[in-house]
Amino acid sequence: MIRFRSKPLCAAAVLTAMAVVATGCAGAGGTAAGGGGRSISVLMVNNPQMEDLRQLTAQNFTRQTGIHVNFTVLPENDLRDKASQEFSNQAGQYDVATLTNYEAPFYAKNGWLTPLDSYVAKDKAFDQGDILKPMAESLTAADGKLYAEPFYGESSFLMYRKDVFAAKHLTMPAHPTWQQVADLAAKADGAKPGMRGICLRGQPGWGELFAPLTTVVNTFGGTWFTKDWQAQVNSQPFRKATQFYVDLVRKHGESGASQAGFTECLNNMSQGKVAMWYDATSGAGALEDPKQSKVAGKIGYVAAPTDKTDSAGWLATWAWSIEKASKHQDDAWKFISWASSKGYEKLAGDKLGWSRIPAGKRASTYSNADYRKSASAFAEPTLNAISSADPRHPGVQPRPTAGIQFVGIPEFTSLGTQVSQGVSSAIAGHTTVPAALDKGQKLAEQVAKKYR
């Protein structure tokens, strides 16, 4: 019973000690974060190129300019949630955020972004003319002003294991059709113990599953909406494409497909667990880095598979934009100007290897000898894919908005995500494609009504 009194005392002591430690550290932490100098806050997606940027910022950007950068780095789905909440409320927590060419135009229309034209005009070293045309255009809003600068751009292509294909005596055409890919996947399935034929995203999310799937829908002749806003989600071509995709993943796709996004597929490919992968061109950099990939040098790259169209690759870019409510606009531009510069590409190339630089945005990148040497495997296919992408005519019919793997309206985030959950369930075998798409059609009709 003597311990009766001492126990709570002990607990109280522990708590007090923690409080002391906390307040003690708070002082130190506060100065470290806030600092006497200037600082900006950047919200960005956790793709490899951004992770590299985060590593290089303190030693270079902050050292040169004295501007401290606080990064919040989130997985893609989380990032979109956070960014849309932040910008729509103009909460002012962040100065710079990575947006894609999906959000930037309608964010700009809503007055949430700072136009960059005057910064670009003053900043000669930045050399706006060097930015690839399709990229710059996709970040220009309806008012003709530029609202974001690309950090890296990507299209999509098909990656395959040359060694595995050679061993199995398979040939990959330079412009494969989806039917050819499905046949190859069947033959490559099990080429090595535990190896599956192809990796395709199955994780719910309009920017995850529906990025590749919409390109399949496009080339199969489907679309989300017709020019006059008629929903087409359970139309025959859309259903055929989705059924094809789901069947292919279920039969020859990676294990855990219904929860696999870009990251998981990158892991699968780089660890040699799949023979093919249809995804972003930006995945190639990581695959060719021997430090993190077991398959560097063994990968071949060909154009995105097609069916009824000549090309099918998407066009996407992660681009920096400045929030209208930001109180550090000039510092924010300084950061963007550094991160999207030729100089940063050189820095990343020298420090981390040229295959890992944020490519796909500048013409000069593709004439750079260092880059061409290290990215010889995929530099050309990437540039071809980007320049053959046409956001205004991605399929067989006219579209109401510009965009390949998305529909350029705010409602698409939730529409795409909800439909993707059904398709993901179909991949997991819990529902059927027609059932998932019938549900999707109802949702799409509700959205379309607003625009008719």
Partner: protein, 303 residues
């Protein structure tokens, strides 16, 4: 009455284990074997339950490639690289601000909860207001409302008052989140204070402060500790509010952890290291005070 109610200081320690006083049955040896089997079963079940935690800690000390093997490599050599990653060796992002924020939010809200809950519990248990039952139900019912339903107004409020990304907003919210349970628990503890003793103290002319210090405090102290521990745990663990209402300056450990899943390559060992370290304060506090936990949680049932 008072003979039944030993005061805290003079209470004779009851038997350590009541069963030891039972008359030994004739076949003591069989009973011993039975005991061994019982102990082995309990140990087996305990280890089985603990396995995921052990696996997490072990994986946190493996390299990323060893962590991602199938079948698992148990004997792989150990490394601290997962922990170095956690402290920002690759990203340059230190977890310290997040840990400090979590500590501030948890400890701050716990203190505030106690400040509010102890008087309230006093008013429900020692000198109960009329209809104290209804009041207690009111407290508990606020706990049943889905927090997510109030999220939007709170977000809009925070944005317009500049409280977004401010750790003190979380202190306030965590206080409201834990207050009902704290009042419930504290009332149970204070209800243990025998009225007759309070009566006696009053007759002896003891003032309110003396009564509180000499009689109420010793009985309530373990209760306060248990309540504080529970509040601390739930605040430290909270993620929904923290996720929506913080950004850069005020992120807490759970939010930091979700951002720790990197997009590049394998990350299992890092995540395990991060998960282990972020759980450590709660694990330490919980292990140190597990007796309090048992007592604190269960008193609601009897009082």
């Amino acid at each position: 009455m008072t003979t039944h109610l030993p005061t805290v200081a003079s209470a004779p320690p009851p038997t350590r284990n009541p069963r030891h006083r039972l008359p030994q049955p004739p076949s003591a040896r069989r009973r011993k074997g039975w005991n061994t089997a019982w102990g082995l079963t309990a140990w087996g079940a305990g280890l089985f339950f603990f396995l995921p935690v052990a696996w997490m800690v072990l994986t946190s000390f493996h390299s990323e490639t060893d962590a991602a093997t199938n079948p698992p490599s148990l004997a792989a050599h150990l490394t601290l690289s997962g922990y170095r990653e956690f402290f920002g060796s690759a990203t340059g992002q230190s977890p310290l601000p997040a840990l400090i924020n979590s500590a501030t939010a948890s400890i701050g809200s716990t203190l505030l909860v106690l400040l509010l809950a102890v008087p309230a519990a006093y008013a429900l248990a020692i000198k109960p207001v009329r209809k104290w039952r209804d009041v207690l139900f009111f407290f508990l019912s606020t706990k049943m409302l889905p927090t997510v339903a109030g999220l939007l107004p709170i977000y809009l409020f925070a944005k317009n008052t500049g409280l977004l990304d401010n750790i003190w907003l979380l202190v306030i919210l965590y206080t409201s989140m834990n207050l009902p349970i704290a009042v419930w628990m504290m009332r149970s503890f204070l209800a243990e204070v025998p009225i007759s003793i309070l009566e006696a103290a009053q007759i002896d002319g003891a003032g309110l402060l003396t009564t509180l210090r000499r009689i109420v405090a010793p009985i309530a102290a373990p209760g306060i500790a248990a309540t504080a521990l529970i509040c601390f745990i739930f605040s430290w663990n909270e993620m929904l509010f923290a996720r929506v209402l913080t950004g850069v300056a005020a992120i807490t450990s759970p939010v930091f952890l979700t951002g720790f899943v990197t997009g590049e390559g394998l990350f299992l060992a890092q995540v395990c290291a991060a998960a282990t370290l972020i759980s450590l304060p709660v694990l330490a506090a919980g292990f140190a005070a597990q007796d309090k936990l048992v007592q604190g949680l269960s008193l609601g049932a009897v009082k």
